[in-house]
C-alpha cells in the first residue's frame, strides 16, 4: 500500500474543505453525537416520527400528481386514484393510514417526554418546538382530510372553520375570509390544498430546529439525571442500529393496517360525496382529535368551549413551570406515576366521549373529564412537586447499572 491518498479520499477532502456536509452530519447523527447509553425503546419514537414525515411527503407528492382540487372533481379524482391509477389504492392508503400512524408515534413520543420529564430545564425550548410541530401536524391533517371532499370532509371543514366565528367582533369576517365565499366551497378546497402542500415543509423546518435544540443539552434518559461523558456512546452505529430495528418492527404494524385494515380508522360516510344540503347523522372527527373535540362539546357555551379546547393544548407550553418537581424521571416519583396514569385514562375517556353522540350521561362524563384534565396540570402537578418525596437518585448512569438500588 502506498502512503498516497486515494483519488476518492482526495476528492472527498477537496469537497469537505468547501462544504463540510459530511462532518456536519457526523456531528448531528453520526459518530460525533454522544448519546446516553441507557436509552430504552421509548426513545425510538422520534426517529419513527421523522420516518412518517418522509412517508407522508413522498406519498403526498405522488397523490398530488393525480388529484384535482376542485369541488366538482376532487371526490371523483380520489376514486380514480383508488380504482384506475396504477398502485393508486396503495399510495392513498399509505397516506391516509400514514396520518394515523404519524399521530400514534407522536403521541407516544410526547407521553415519553411527559413521563421522563424531558420538558424540564434545560430542554424547555426543545419541548416548545415539539408542541409547535404537533400543532402544525394537526392543522396539516385537518386540511388534508378536507381534500377527498366526502361528507365528513365537508362537514368537518364547516364545523372547524366555524370555530373562528366565536371570536367576538371580527369572528364572522375571519370565517368568510377562510371560506372565500358564503360557506365551505370550491375556493375553500383550493386554498386548503395549497396549505396542505405547504405545511409539511414548515414541519421539516421545525424538525430541524427541534434537533438543533436537542443537540445543545443532549438527550434526556430514563433516569432523568445528567449523563457524564463516560456514560455516553456515539449515535452511530449504536442508536442508528437500534432505530433501524425499531423501524423494521414498526413498519410491519403499519403495513398490516395499510394492506388488511385500511379503513379501520376512517369514517365510512366520507365515501359519500360532499353535500352542502345534508349534515351527516353523526359528526365525528378523526380519532386523533377526539379528546379535544370532547372538551369542546362538554362546555355548553360556544366561546368558552373553544377557549378550553385550545387551552388544553396551550397549557402544555407551561408544563416546564407547572411541574415544580426538580426530579425529571417518573421512575423516581411514586405519586406522580399514579397521577400520570390517571391522566392518561382521563384522556382516553375523553376520547371515548368525543366519539359518542352527546346524549344521556356522556356530556356529564365529558365535563368531569375536562375538569380533571385541567386540574391535573393547574393544581396536581404544581402541588405534587412540593409534597412528594422522590426516591433517591443514582449518582450516575453506570452506578445505577452496577449497583442496583436496594
Amino acid at each position: 500500500m502506498s502512503t498516497e491518498k486515494s483519488v476518492w479520499r482526495k476528492a472527498y477532502e477537496w469537497h469537505e474543505a468547501r462544504l463540510p456536509i459530511v462532518t456536519w452530519l457526523d456531528h448531528s447523527l453520526g459518530t460525533k453525537y454522544p448519546v446516553p447509553r441507557n436509552l430504552n425503546y421509548w426513545w425510538n419514537f422520534g426517529s419513527l416520527a421523522m420516518f412518517m414525515l418522509a412517508v407522508m411527503i413522498f406519498s403526498g407528492i405522488v397523490l398530488a400528481m393525480h388529484y384535482t382540487p376542485h369541488a366538482t372533481m376532487a371526490f371523483d379524482s380520489v376514486e380514480r386514484i383508488m380504482r384506475d391509477v396504477n398502485n393508486g389504492w396503495m399510495i392513498r392508503y399509505m397516506h391516509m393510514n400514514g396520518a394515523s400512524f404519524f399521530f400514534i408515534v407522536v403521541y407516544i413520543h410526547i407521553l415519553r417526554g411527559m413521563y421522563y420529564g424531558s420538558y424540564k430545564a434545560p430542554r424547555e425550548v426543545l419541548w416548545w418546538i415539539g408542541l409547535l410541530i404537533y400543532l402544525a401536524m394537526m392543522a396539516t391533517a385537518f386540511l388534508g382530510y378536507v381534500l377527498p371532499w366526502g361528507q365528513m370532509s365537508f362537514w368537518g371543514a364547516t364545523v372547524i372553520t366555524n370555530f373562528f366565528s366565536a371570536i367576538p367582533g371580527v369572528g364572522d369576517s375571519i370565517v368568510t375570509l377562510l371560506w372565500g365565499g358564503f360557506g365551505v366551497d370550491n375556493p375553500t378546497l383550493n386554498r386548503f390544498f395549497s396549505l396542505h402542500y405547504l405545511l409539511p415543509f414548515v414541519i421539516i423546518g421545525l424538525v430541524f430546529l427541534h434537533i438543533w435544540a436537542l443537540h445543545v443539552p443532549g438527550a434526556n434518559n430514563p433516569l432523568g439525571i445528567d449523563a457524564a461523558p463516560s456514560d455516553k456512546i456515539p449515535f452511530f452505529p449504536y442508536y442508528v442500529m437500534k432505530d433501524v430495528f425499531g423501524l423494521a418492527v414498526f413498519v410491519v404494524f403499519y403495513f398490516v393496517v395499510v394492506f388488511w385494515f385500511p379503513n379501520s380508522m376512517g369514517e365510512a360516510v366520507n365515501y359519500v360525496t360532499a353535500n352542502p344540503l345534508q349534515t351527516p347523522e353523526h359528526i365525528v372527527p378523526e380519532w386523533y382529535y377526539l379528546p379535544f373535540y370532547a372538551i369542546l362539546r362538554s362546555i355548553p357555551n360556544k366561546l368558552l368551549g373553544i377557549i378550553l379546547m385550545f387551552g388544553s393544548i396551550l397549557i402544555l407550553f407551561a408544563l416546564p413551570w407547572l411541574d415544580t418537581s426538580r426530579v425529571r424521571s417518573g421512575n423516581f416519583r411514586p405519586v406522580f406515576r399514579v397521577f400520570f396514569a390517571i391522566w392518561i385514562v382521563d384522556v382516553l375517556i375523553l376520547g371515548y366521549v368525543g366519539m359518542k353522540p352527546a346524549e344521556g350521561i356522556i356530556p356529564t362524563i365529558g365535563m368531569i373529564g375536562t375538569f380533571w384534565y385541567f386540574l391535573h396540570f393547574a393544581v396536581i402537578l404544581p402541588v405534587l412537586g412540593w409534597l412528594e418525596t422522590p426516591k433517591p437518585l443514582p449518582a450516575s448512569i453506570s452506578q445505577a447499572v452496577l449497583k442496583p438500588a436496594e
Partner: protein, 185 residues
C-alpha cells in the same frame, strides 16, 4: 486631546440621530410590509363573481299549513316554514327578556305574513343543518329545530332556546314579491 473630545461629542450626537434613522427605517419597512401583505390576504376574501348577489324565487302557494320546505340560496339551505296557529302562539307566549338572543317573534317575520318563518338553515353554533324539516325528524322540546351536532334546540320562531349555539337562526334578506312568491336575497 481636544480632537478626541470633539470626536466623542460628534459620536454622541451621531448615535441618537442614527437611532432615529434606524427606527424610522424599521417603521417604514414595517408599514411597507403590511401594505404588501394586505392584498395577498384580501385576495382570499370572496371574489367578485362569488359576491355577485344571487337571488332565489320561491312559490309558496304549495306549502300547506304545518309544512316546512328547504330551498337553496347561495349554495346553502334556507328553511321556509308555514306555521300553524299553535306554533305562532307558542312563539309569541315566550317571555322575550328570558331569551339568550332576545327577539320577539314579530321581529322575525314580515307583517301580514306572520305564518311564514324564513330562516337560514345553518346552526349558529358551528354551521350544521338543524333537523326538523320533516315531521319524522326530531324538532327538540320547543317544536322548532334540533341540531344533532352538539344539541342546540330552536323554537318555532327559530330562536335559540337550549344548547351551545349563541344566536337565533339568521334571517336572510327577503321580500314577498306577490301573494304567492317570495324572493330571497
Amino acid at each position: 486631546m481636544a480632537n478626541t473630545a470633539h470626536v466623542h461629542a460628534a459620536d454622541a450626537v451621531g448615535e441618537t440621530r442614527r437611532d432615529f434613522l434606524q427606527y424610522t427605517t424599521i417603521a417604514m419597512a414595517g408599514v411597507g410590509g403590511v401594505m404588501m401583505v394586505w392584498p395577498l390576504i384580501n385576495s382570499l376574501n370572496p371574489a367578485a363573481d362569488t359576491l355577485a348577489l344571487s337571488t332565489t324565487d320561491v312559490n309558496i302557494s304549495g306549502i300547506g299549513e304545518g309544512q316546512r320546505i328547504t330551498v337553496v340560496w347561495r349554495g346553502k339551505p334556507v328553511f321556509i316554514a308555514h306555521r300553524t296557529a299553535a306554533e305562532i302562539d307558542a312563539a309569541n307566549k315566550v317571555n322575550v327578556s328570558e331569551l339568550r338572543d332576545p327577539q320577539p317573534d314579530s321581529a322575525r317575520v314580515k307583517k301580514g305574513k306572520e305564518a311564514f318563518l324564513i330562516v337560514e338553515g345553518s346552526c349558529t353554533h358551528f354551521g350544521c343543518i338543524p333537523q326538523g324539516m320533516k315531521t319524522t325528524e326530531p324538532r327538540g322540546e320547543f317544536g322548532g329545530w334540533f341540531c344533532p351536532c352538539h344539541g342546540s334546540v330552536y323554537d318555532t320562531s327559530g330562536r335559540i332556546r337550549k344548547g351551545p349555539a349563541p344566536e337565533n337562526l339568521h334571517i336572510p334578506p327577503y321580500a314577498f314579491t306577490s301573494d304567492t312568491t317570495v324572493r330571497i336575497g
